[in-house]
């Protein structure tokens, strides 16, 4: 029902109104069918209207009260059970409303304004007169107060109810670093960032996306650091979205990314507020979506997916070594099975003699060609992984034990696969888990299969051509106008310090060039730690 109604509504919309994107305000009510008419003066009619529109939903609480000196004004307090903080409602709305002493001569209207001005002890209070606004407020967790003979309603902000509290994020764990993670509540999430960047230039713009779900979407950036072109681009792309629902940031991500037909992620998503804060400070834009702990960061560069958050907390030499390791790991997870296939079926001449004899000995009894063997093993592994991910943890462990026994032990002993193959598959698997970003690991996984096919057909030639084509593809990608492979290609020397390398923190002089064009400088001069100046030391130390 709702769905059809939303669809119907879409056709009626005037396109030119869409063009001017003033986020937050005017988009909201458009989907509401009931919306256009104002409130009825009669309380019962209004209550009836609410009942009808919500289909008598049981979680809509309608509390009728009598207010005024002698209780001469009938009123109703309406809220959605679970979306509001009930303590809040009863202590700061109901109690004052029932116990207050109104001047006796007050008309209904005067009572209404008196309630608005003097009684309700809540943070935000406003008058609403349109139905669509009322429903929006109601569904967002506000409490509506209606009064007999007044065609207006009061909306008190009483948002509350149960949210998951701030916990350590499940993905992107770090040994060193803050332990808080985003939650499903947009406000909590934005607050986590505000707490980190105490600066008025941290700007936040909210809009609602989703004709049916009316999901809050917020974009956050630091004015003065961010490149305005990118903000504008993000807003335009968000404004273009016409969709019935946004249930996770993935919906938005897929609708605003530059190119769909690529396996590489061009928008970064994270559960960690420190990553978002760092990205904002580099001049990126964060997109928060109500109802998911995954915040989008755009534009995202290829190299970003190899940067773990700890790189910046650990010392630079260790971080650099780990970065190299990760790129290596990415390549292993990309090409290891392909190289095995190419090496054992095409280029036996390129393997050292003893090694090739050893592999040959293992393959003596294996009944499948190397490619089939590799494919079967890789697919088996993917099945195991998929099974392990979805299952409840205790059963998941059982699956991995069975899997390890099946592929590691039994298959080798039965002679179905060679132990070299098992080694290759497990190295690949571990390598793909060691890639810091799941998004890039999974794209490597897809490409791995393509490379395996190429290797089975053309050996190393196929692999190299496949990687060449992949590189061309990567270089042709853009993310919000920024070349995806920058600062490697196009090569930007001043930004290379945060790619494969991670230079010491005092040498982080510049923000990424292409992402933020104006405010490049990141830190002062001469931050490099110096040995204490002996002259000054003498001064300061009297002894």
């Amino acid at each position: 029902m709702l769905f059809q109604w939303a669809l119907r509504k879409k056709h009626r919309q005037k396109p030119e109104k869409r063009e001017t994107v003033v986020p937050g305000r005017d988009q909201s009510g458009k989907a509401q069918d009931i919306s256009q008419e104002p409130l009825h003066p009669q309380l019962e009619a209004n209550i009836d209207m609410i009942r009808r529109t919500t289909g008598n939903s049981t979680d809509i609480v309608i509390r009728r009260v009598m207010v005024g000196q002698e209780g001469q004004h009938r009123a109703a307090v309406i809220f959605v059970d679970g979306l509001v903080d009930e303590m809040h409602v009863s202590r700061f709305l109901l109690e004052p409303l029932l116990e207050a002493s109104f001047p006796p001569s007050f008309s209904a209207k005067e009572t209404f304004f008196y309630i608005e001005k003097n009684l309700a002890a809540v943070g935000s209070m406003k008058q609403v007169s349109q139905w669509f606004e009322i429903f929006l407020e109601l569904m967002s967790g506000s409490t509506i107060i209606l009064l007999e003979d007044v065609p207006l309603a009061l909306s008190a902000s009483t948002k509350g109810g149960d949210y998951r509290s701030v916990e350590e994020p499940q993905s992107q764990l770090a040994i060193r670093g803050p332990r808080d993670g985003f939650t499903e509540s947009l406000r909590t999430n934005t607050a986590l960032i505000r707490r980190r960047i105490k600066n008025p230039n941290l700007w936040l713009e909210t809009m609602r996306i989703g004709e049916v779900t009316q999901t809050d979407v917020a974009i956050m950036y630091i004015k003065g650091i961010v490149n305005d072109k990118i903000v504008k681009e993000v807003k335009t792309r968000l404004g273009r979205i016409k969709i019935d629902s946004v249930l996770e940031s993935g919906y938005v991500e897929q609708l605003i990314e530059d190119q769909t037909f690529t396996t590489f992620p061009t928008i970064y998503h994270t559960e960690r507020p420190d990553i978002v804060a760092a990205n904002l400070l580099e001049g990126r834009v964060a997109i928060f979506i109500e109802g998911t702990p995954f915040v989008l960061v755009a534009p995202a560069l290829f190299i970003q997916f190899f940067q773990a958050v700890e790189d910046y907390y650990a010392r630079f030499d260790i971080a650099t070594a780990l970065r190299f390791l990760r790129v290596l790991v990415f390549f292993i997870s990309l090409v290891a099975p392909a190289i095995y296939i190419a090496g054992t079926t095409f280029h036996q001449e390129m393997i050292p003699t003893l090694l090739v004899i050893s592999i040959a000995a293992q393959r003596e009894a294996v009944p499948f060609p190397a490619f089939v063997e590799a494919l079967v093993m890789e697919v088996t592994f993917e099945i195991l992984r998929e099974a392990g991910v979805r299952l409840p943890r205790p059963i998941g462990q059982a699956v991995s034990i069975v899997g390890a026994l099946v592929i590691g032990q039994a298959a080798v002993e039965a002679g179905f696969v060679s132990s070299a193959m098992v080694i290759v598959v497990s190295i690949t698997a571990i390598a793909s888990f060691a890639t810091p970003s799941f998004a890039i690991a999974i794209s490597a996984r897809l490409i791995r299969f393509a490379l395996m096919f190429l290797a089975a057909m053309f050996g190393f030639y196929g692999i190299i051509m496949g990687i060449l084509a992949m590189a061309i593809h990567l270089c042709s990608l853009r993310t919000f106008g920024v070349p995806y492979m920058s600062p490697l290609a196009p090569f930007i020397p001043s930004n290379i310090g945060d790619t494969l390398f991670r230079v010491p923190t005092w040498a982080f002089k510049e923000r990424p060039r292409l992402i933020n064009q104006k405010n490049i400088s990141r830190q002062g001069e001469n931050l490099r730690p110096q040995p204490p100046d002996p002259a000054r030391q003498d001064e300061g130390d009297p002894s």
Partner: protein
């Protein structure tokens, strides 16, 4: 014209990859024996002189490719003829390089695979790259130049480490005097790869900083020329003059000699990487030049539409130009330099420049009055 712009670094990368391209793997200038480095350096100098001619022409027409200003200089009819000549020349050389590449791959690793298939895979990738545009090609180059250079350095270190380099094999220097060297320069190394810089006259208009082009071109040529000279010299120092002269691919033989600790051996894959990267960029640049040249000549708005037909032509040409590898090489060393390289790399550009200079003098003269 695409709206893309290349910066200096990207042009440098393209020149470097292009110049090394196939030259690094084929027996280049082996006629000069152990004096090959002299031959390469000499032709590098002459090549720079030649490219100064191209740069001078570019200076007169900074926003037009060769095929366009040929029409301005020589008039629409002769100009169009010249443009067509150049386009076919680029196409032909693209298919020659593709053939070289396929033959190499076939001989040393894929003896049973049809040449057509190997070439088809390569040209498909080239077509994909050219379809994405020159900017993407240049960026890919920026990624792969480091890989290529790493491979070269690795090979160099391994060669030194395995104690194969015997510089005595480079003696005697100038055994027969300069005659042999000059002969090789004038018949071979001047045109491949240095004279082939003519193809960059099609790319210069994409530069975002025309003032720096001269410096980039010369430094790119010098850098790649030096690398080429070092590589060829190493081939001689490792293999000896006699073996290099007999070898189809000296670099492959050199790499195959590496044997360290019974493990770092059989490193043919290094050669393969160098071969494929070099071959790819060389074919791509020639192919791109012919595609944009054709688009410009026949006023095709989206040059991407020409990629498929022209790519097919290059592919078929690469198979059809010769029936055997010796025939292919004979064409390349005897016929092509005389009838293609000399006229198109030297004579025509010089004539164009001459006409252009005279005309400009004359016009200036008139204006002066």
């Amino acid at each position: 014209m695409e709206p893309y712009k290349l910066d200096q670094r990207q042009l440098f990368v393209l020149i470097f990859l292009f110049e090394l391209g196939s030259a690094i793997v084929i027996p280049l200038g082996v006629g000069a024996k152990q004096d090959v480095w002299l031959a390469i350096l000499l032709s590098l100098m002459l090549g720079i002189l030649l490219s100064l001619v191209y740069l001078r022409l570019y200076g007169y027409y900074p926003d037009k490719p060769l095929t366009a200003y040929a029409q301005d200089i020589a008039g629409p009819w002769i100009g169009k003829m010249v443009a067509i000549l150049y386009i076919s020349y680029f196409l032909y050389i693209a298919s020659r390089v593709l053939r070289d590449f396929g033959e190499l791959l076939l001989t040393f690793a894929y003896p049973e695979t049809p040449l057509f298939i190997l070439n088809a895979i390569m040209i498909l990738t080239v077509m994909y790259g050219v379809n994405k545009g020159i900017e993407v090609l240049a960026r890919t180059g920026e990624l792969f130049i480091s890989l290529l250079y790493f491979v070269m350095l690795l090979g160099f270190v391994l060669l030194i480490g395995s104690g194969l380099v015997d510089f005595r094999q480079l003696q005697p220097i100038l055994e027969d005097g300069w005659k042999r060297v000059v002969k090789v320069v004038l018949t071979e190394t001047l045109y491949i790869p240095f004279g082939e810089m003519i193809v960059f006259t099609m790319l210069f208009p994409y530069m975002n900083n025309p003032a720096k082009v001269k410096r980039v071109v010369i430094s790119g040529m010098v850098f790649s020329g030096l690398n080429l000279a070092i590589t060829m010299t190493l081939n001689f120092a490792v293999l000896g003059a006699d073996a290099v002269a007999r070898s189809s691919f000296p670099l492959l033989d050199t790499i195959r000699r590496i044997q360290i600790a019974h493990f770092l051996e059989r490193l043919d894959v290094l050669f393969m990487i160098a071969l494929i990267i070099g071959g790819f960029f060389k074919v791509s640049v020639f192919f791109y030049a012919s595609v944009v040249g054709t688009a410009q000549l026949f006023s095709v708005e989206r040059h991407q539409r020409l990629i498929y037909p022209l790519g097919l032509i290059v592919l078929i040409l690469s198979i059809a130009i010769a029936s055997s590898y010796p025939e292919h090489i004979a064409e390349g060393t005897k016929i092509v330099p005389l009838y293609m390289h000399i006229p198109l790399q030297i004579i025509v550009p010089l004539c164009l420049l001459l006409i252009c200079e005279i005309r400009h003098r004359y016009v200036n003269h008139q204006l002066g009055r």
